[in-house]
């Protein structure tokens, strides 16, 4: 009897959260699928099932294909940069030294500050006329004064800028996660490797890095999600331009669905995020499971 009453209490304590999540996450998720196969516009009332029409029209659009490709390119390149740098930075931050807390604070700023504000900061750094980055480049004689790069104005440079800002934003996050992994390795183990005759790099690549694999996976999976589904950086830096060269799925969904009032087509675009999210979720579960077995 005691058991049953405690189960009832458990249900009662869990139910509000469950109902809330069902209403504010579950319901809109279902609606997103529903919209993507219907014809819903801002202000429209009825709902007509239109099958895969929205997907067809979306797939026909070169802007969409560009956005899809961009989403992948931005995410993958960003994560490659981030994971290499994060390993390096975590390693440098591992041992205690005077001022470590302050360095960690500086390093963390991009992640903890609101991203929209960080992005507008970069917009100023990369300004077409007053860019301090260009001023430095000019004075290092890397570029000529009246031929300075238009960071946000040329398609290729704009893509590079978006990647740079994403990497800037995600690097602190990956670094602290890897740092947690690094400090969880018992000190004895790298010491044993040192006594066994391994130098710094052998000990790092043969012992430390393999032991960190699960944690690196976690950092990459979160990194992919946060980058792939983000629209803030693109929205503030370039609004997807120039000529849609930096458009990504989330920002395109926003422009189409909210600003363009075509909710259905916007929903169809954002539904393309789902397969990636599903893959990530499965991988995440696998990591969690492995961690529990060990």
């Amino acid at each position: 009897m005691a058991l049953r009453s405690s189960t009832r209490l458990g249900v009662a304590m869990f139910a509000p959260a469950l109902i809330y999540i069902a209403a504010v996450v579950g319901l809109p998720l279902c609606l997103a699928f529903l919209y993507s196969v219907g014809d819903v516009r801002v202000g429209s009332v009825g709902y007509h099932f239109v099958g895969l029409d929205n997907f067809r029209s979306v797939l026909r659009s070169p802007t969409f294909r560009r956005s899809l490709a961009n989403s992948f390119v931005f995410t993958i390149v960003t994560q490659l940069i981030v994971i290499v740098c994060a390993n390096l930075l975590a390693l440098a931050l591992r041992d205690r030294f005077r001022g470590r807390g302050f360095v960690r604070f500086l390093v963390l700023l991009p992640w903890v500050a609101p991203i929209s504000l960080g992005a507008i900061g970069w917009k100023w750094l990369l300004d077409s006329i007053y860019s301090v980055v260009n001023w430095v480049l000019v004075h290092l004689h890397l570029v000529r004064p009246f031929d300075a790069p238009m960071w946000l104005g040329e398609p290729r440079l704009a893509m590079a800028s978006v990647i740079l800002v994403h990497a800037w934003r995600m690097l602190p996050f990956s670094t602290v996660i890897l740092l947690a992994g690094l400090t969880s390795i018992p000190k004895d183990i790298p010491e044993a490797a040192a006594v066994d005759g391994a130098g710094f790099w052998r000990s790092y690549f043969r012992i430390v890095l393999p032991m960190m694999t699960p944690i690196i996976n976690v950092a990459v999976l979160f990194g992919v999600i946060f980058t792939f589904t983000d629209m803030t950086v693109v929205y503030i830096l370039t609004r997807g331009g120039p000529y849609d060269s930096t458009q990504v799925l989330p920002s395109l969904a926003f422009f189409t669905g909210i600003l363009g009032s075509d909710l259905s087509e916007g929903a169809a675009i954002s539904v393309f995020l789902v397969p990636i999210l599903a893959v990530i979720a499965i991988l995440m579960l696998r990591v969690a499971q492995k961690a529990e077995v060990v």
Binding site: P186, D188, I189, E191, A192, A193, A194, V195, D196, G197, A198, G199, R202, R206, I207, P210, M211, T213, V294
Partner: protein, 347 residues
């Protein structure tokens, strides 16, 4: 195999603080099994880690095989070490764990298989080679750690409390095994422990440390029977030595030498004792009592009486005990150091 020497080796962590290790001079003989024994915080592990090169000395020198290695990295010192946690590489199989030092030391690949075979059969772990550390029992892990240490035939073995993670029963057999292993390979070995039984049972010589200072170096018999000072006298032996203070002298005797008066042979100091409690431990009884009368009235003492003595003891009874005079030790009160026989006022 080699001689290990430390000269004035010192480690100070924070300025203005007493060092963790202070001016330690040691000479470990070739092929010797030397034990560092001390309570926690005595600096024994720090001393070992400085010899290994895992800790940088504040001052002093470490020499291995006649060579000054103070500034060398651990891998250039020709040492192998077994850690308290064993520090096995969790993602590698036992075979790869044992291979790791060979690869790191650039031993020719052709010799790898033969060496692994040799080390694993020496420790009887041939059947475990494809397992991972987490699939092994504590005793098996300890052997793998030993195999990994022995495989590249180091000049010196460093062992940091390698038995402390084993349960009591296994520890006794592992102790005996480790001694046998040392006799077989004959490598100079330094062994750190806080367990006096391990130290007495395995050490050729024992270094007793306290607060970063060497208190005594000697064979197990020497440190037990002729403790250099009151610290060693009370740290070794359980229950510890009874100490009584009179004037500038401290007299001490071990519980096993405080015996019923009926067993006295030869000259002995008589003591009257009121029993407080008795612990019956099977092979022996530990009698906790208070001295009655004379100068030491009220002083607590402990006696250890083997089961072969038939007398019975119970709380609040009063009994006559004696301590044979040749079993008394004397220390200077001011320094705590051992001295020769002294006049001692028992009354």
């Amino acid at each position: 195999m080699a001689v290990v020497e430390t000269r004035k080796l010192t480690k100070v962590y924070a300025k203005a603080e007493l060092g963790a290790v202070n001016e330690v001079d040691l000479l470990v003989r070739e092929g010797e099994f030397l034990v560092f024994l001390g309570p926690s915080g005595s600096g024994k592990t720090t001393l070992l880690r400085m010899i290994a090169g895992l800790e940088e000395p504040t001052r002093g020198e470490v020499r291995i095989g006649g060579r000054d290695v103070t500034r060398l990295a651990p891998r250039d010192r020709g040492i192998a070490m077994v850690f308290q946690s064993y520090a096995l590489y969790p993602h590698l199989t036992v075979r790869k764990n044992i291979l790791f030092p060979l690869q790191a030391q650039k031993v020719p690949r052709a010799r790898h298989a033969e060496k692994v075979e040799w080390a694993s059969s020496l420790l009887g772990i041939g059947h475990l080679l494809e397992r991972r550390p987490r699939e092994l029992s504590g005793g098996e892990r300890q052997r793998v750690a030993l195999a990994r240490a022995i495989v590249r035939e180091p000049q010196v073995f460093l062992l940091d409390e390698p038995l402390s993670n084993l349960d009591a029963k296994l520890r006794a057999s592992a102790r005996e095994e480790l001694s046998r292993f040392h006799k077989r390979v004959g490598t100079t070995t330094i062994y750190v422990t806080h367990d006096q039984i391990e130290a007495m049972a395995m050490g050729d010589r024992v270094v007793v440390l306290a607060q970063g200072v060497v208190r005594q170096i000697g064979t197990p018999r020497e440190v037990y029977d002729q403790p250099a000072d009151t610290f060693v006298a009370t740290f070794l032996g359980s229950p510890p030595m009874n100490l009584m203070e009179a004037g500038e002298v401290i007299a001490g005797f071990r519980p096993e030498h405080l015996l019923p008066a009926s067993l006295a042979t030869g000259p002995a100091v008589p003591l009257r004792l009121r029993v407080a409690t008795v612990e019956y431990l099977g092979a022996e009884r530990i009698v906790y009592g208070v001295l009655l009368g004379g100068r030491f009235d009220g002083q607590k003492v402990v006696s250890r009486i083997p089961a072969t003595v038939p007398a019975a003891y119970a709380a609040d009874e009063t009994h006559d005990f004696v301590v044979p005079e040749d079993r008394l030790e004397f220390f200077e009160r001011a320094s705590g150091k051992r001295t020769g026989r002294r006049e001692f006022a028992w009354r």
